[in-house]
């Protein structure tokens, strides 16, 4: 199965230095939170962006989901701060 596309917004995007990247697809039962912890362990921009998971929100295939959701078969995982629209 294809890689997982990660998309980033706001200060998450700025810390990582890119708005999108591909990562090797984790097993379907891996949660967003677990993937974030793995990415944080890379250090650098990822370490900075993902240091405080309680400051992060996520969407799987363009639907808001809690961080303890399993990634499953989703094509796109978005990670971003709480929204501040309008």
């Amino acid at each position: 199965m294809a890689d997982l596309t990660l998309v980033y917004f706001a200060w998450v995007r700025e810390a990582i230095g890119r708005d999108e990247e591909q990562v090797a697809r984790p097993a379907p039962d891996v949660t967003i939170g677990a993937l974030i912890a793995t990415l944080a362990a890379r250090g650098g921009g990822h370490g900075e962006a993902f240091a405080r998971p309680e400051k992060l929100r996520a969407a799987l295939d363009q639907r808001f989901v809690p961080l303890d959701s399993a990634i499953g078969e989703a094509k796109e995982l978005a990670i971003f701060p709480p929204v501040t629209g309008g």
Binding site: V7, F9, A10, A59, A78, F80, V83, T84, G85, G86
Partner: protein, 146 residues
């Protein structure tokens, strides 16, 4: 009749109101959000998640149409760089009944402020900062779920 636009360009509230007035309802309610120029703000930068934004806004407009007897709904949300005094967002509703128009308008703007996938960055003369989400906005949006 409902229409959603996510756009960088400015819009004309007068033209939007005129279309809503022509929808046959007895009342038209609107809310226009404007960039405030407080604390030396030079500009706001609005980032959004294009693959998600329009679909999400259309979904919430659908909820408003289910909940209130509306004859017209118009939502416009801008993105990109906006200076103080510029319009950010417009919600307009038309209904036979004033309460439906006013409540649906409040519902939609509360949702847009708290749950639409937009992020604001403030630009000052000497620094920039991302706006932090306000618990108050979440509480407003939550109150409609009761």
């Amino acid at each position: 009749m409902s229409r959603v636009s996510i756009q960088a360009e400015d819009f004309d509230p007068a033209a939007e109101l005129a279309a809503l007035e022509a929808s046959g309802g007895g009342g038209v309610a609107s809310f226009t959000g404007i960039v405030r120029g407080e604390g030396g703000l030079v500009a706001l930068e609005l980032e959004h998640y294009p693959a998600m934004t329009t679909a999400q806004v259309e979904r919430i407009v659908g909820q408003a149409l289910d909940r209130w007897p509306l004859l017209g709904v118009r939502v416009i949300h801008r993105h990109g760089r906006l200076e103080p005094g510029e319009r950010i967002v417009f919600v307009g509703t038309a209904s036979r009944h004033r309460t439906a128009a006013l409540e649906a308008c409040a519902f939609l703007i509360d949702w847009l402020k708290s749950e639409a996938p937009f992020w604001k960055k403030e630009h000052f003369a000497d620094r920039t900062q991302w706006v932090e989400a306000r618990a108050e906005d979440d509480a407003k949006a939550e109150s409609w779920k009761r």
